[in-house]
Amino acid sequence: DVKVTQSSRYLVKRTGEKVFLECVQDMDHENMFWYRQDPGLGLRLIYFSYDVKMKEKGDIPEGYSVSREKKERFSLILESASTNQTSMYLCASSRPGTSFYEQYFGPGTRLTVT
C-alpha cells in the first residue's frame, strides 16, 4: 500500500520564522503536490512537481517555495511565516505513467503561526 508521510502532525511557529514541511512517499511516484486546506473550504494547490528538481506553481504559490532534490521527498518552505498561513497542509503523490488525478494523500500537518 502506498504511504505518504509528513514530518509533523502539528507545528507552531512565530511570524517571520522560516518553516519547512517535509513529505516523503515510498512508491516511486513521479508527481508530488502540496495543498492547503482551510476550514470548510476545498484544497488549494500551492505547488507541484512532476520530477526531481522540477516544480510548477499551483493556484496560490505566493509566500511559499518548494524543493525536490530526491524523487521520494518534496519539501514546502515558508520563507517568512505569516498568520494567514495558519492552515492544514496536505501533501499528495501520484503514480508514474498515469494521470495526475489518482492522488494519494498524506495525513496533513496543522501549522499555526502566531
Partner: protein
C-alpha cells in the same frame, strides 16, 4: 485504525444515467465529511456534511450522510460526459487529521 472506503473503485455508465457513489468509514468522532471532484491537479470541493440525514444539493449532484450506519453517498443524476472524474471522499477529524478514500473513477460514455 481510521479508515475511509469508497466503492466502487471505478464505474462506467452512459450519459443520462444516474450514479450513486459510496463512502463508508471507520472513524470515530469526526468534524465533517467532504466530497471532492478531481479532474485536474487540484480536487474541486463539492460538499461538506456534518449532520446526519440532511441532504445537500447542487444542481444534479446531491449527497447525504448517515452517521448511524457510517456512510455517505454522492448521487449524480442525468450524468454528462463532463462528470467524468475521480470523486474523493474525505473525513476531517476532530484531531485535525484528514483521511481520504482512494476515490471512485467515474467515466461517462457519450
Amino acid at each position: 485504525e481510521d479508515k475511509v472506503v469508497q466503492s466502487p473503485l471505478s464505474l462506467v455508465v452512459h450519459e443520462g444515467d444516474t450514479v450513486t457513489l459510496n463512502c463508508s468509514y471507520e472513524v470515530t468522532n469526526f468534524r465533517s465529511l467532504l466530497w471532492y471532484k478531481q479532474e485536474k491537479k487540484a480536487p474541486t470541493f463539492l460538499f461538506m456534511l456534518t449532520s446526519s440525514g440532511i441532504e445537500k444539493k447542487s444542481g444534479r449532484l446531491s449527497s447525504i450522510l448517515d452517521k448511524k450506519e457510517l456512510f455517505s453517498i454522492l448521487n449524480i443524476t442525468a450524468t454528462q460526459t463532463g462528470d467524468s472524474a475521480i470523486y474523493l471522499c474525505a473525513l476531517e477529524g476532530r484531531d485535525d487529521k484528514i483521511i481520504f478514500g482512494k476515490g471512485t473513477r467515474l467515466h461517462i460514455l457519450p
